[in-house]
């Protein structure tokens, strides 16, 4: 039961992550791309937790979802969406 559930969770999450990774490249608005990258990092943190790596999960959640997103938002505020 739990094995099937875990497999289903990982398959769904992995499919969403790869789809989001492709969406980062093709979505038109740069702000959306930054938010989607944050989503990829957060899903990766869930996946680290499923792989019994709580330290890595905490680090990825605090860094990928907060610090990296803030850095990219700062860069977008300086450059803008063009190109």
């Amino acid at each position: 039961m739990t094995e099937t559930l875990m497999t289903a969770i990982v398959l769904t999450l992995g499919g969403m992550m790869v789809a989001a990774g492709i969406a980062v490249l093709f979505v038109r608005d740069l702000l959306s791309a930054i938010i989607i990258t944050g989503f990829v990092s957060l899903s990766a943190s869930v996946m680290f937790l499923l792989m019994d790596a709580p330290d890595v999960a905490i680090t990825e959640a605090s860094i990928g979802a907060v610090l990296a997103t803030m850095i990219f938002l700062w860069g977008r505020g300086k450059i803008g969406d063009d190109g």
Binding site: M6, G21, V40, D55, A68, G75
Partner: protein
């Protein structure tokens, strides 16, 4: 049963690396390249942690429930997790450097298009 769980994580990691690499090779906007680089970074970290994962075991944090003689058959490999922990922090520092270099170069050329940055041409 656990093999599907196991291999789907590897598939996700490899897919993220390939998608990120494709983005780095083909996109034009410098911040979009940095985002693709971050995605590839996440995939590489996933693959590293996956290489030390053993299904059916617990996290390498030992509480009283595990007797000391059975630790080696009860926990996953701690070494790749330690490496990835440092790799994540390095990754975000490199991403910050990437973004700052991109912003300054786009200030200099007046556009965020990476093809116009003659200083960064490969």
């Amino acid at each position: 049963m656990s093999t599907a769980f196991y291999w789907s994580i590897a598939g996700t990691a490899a897919g993220l690396i390939l998608v990120g690499l494709w983005g780095v090779l083909t996109r034009k906007h410098v911040l979009r390249i940095a985002l693709a680089f971050t995605v590839a970074d996440t995939g590489a970290n996933l693959l590293l942690v996956w290489s030390g994962y053993l299904p059916g075991r617990t996290a390498p944090v030992i509480d009283g429930s595990i007797p000391a003689s059975e630790i080696t058959s009860a926990v996953v490999d701690p070494l790749p997790q330690a490496m990835v922990l440092t790799s994540i922090v390095i990754g975000v520092a490199v991403a910050a450097l990437f973004v700052v270099v991109g912003v300054l170069a786009s200030r200099r050329t007046g556009s965020a298009d990476v093809r116009r940055m003659k200083e960064l041409r490969w």
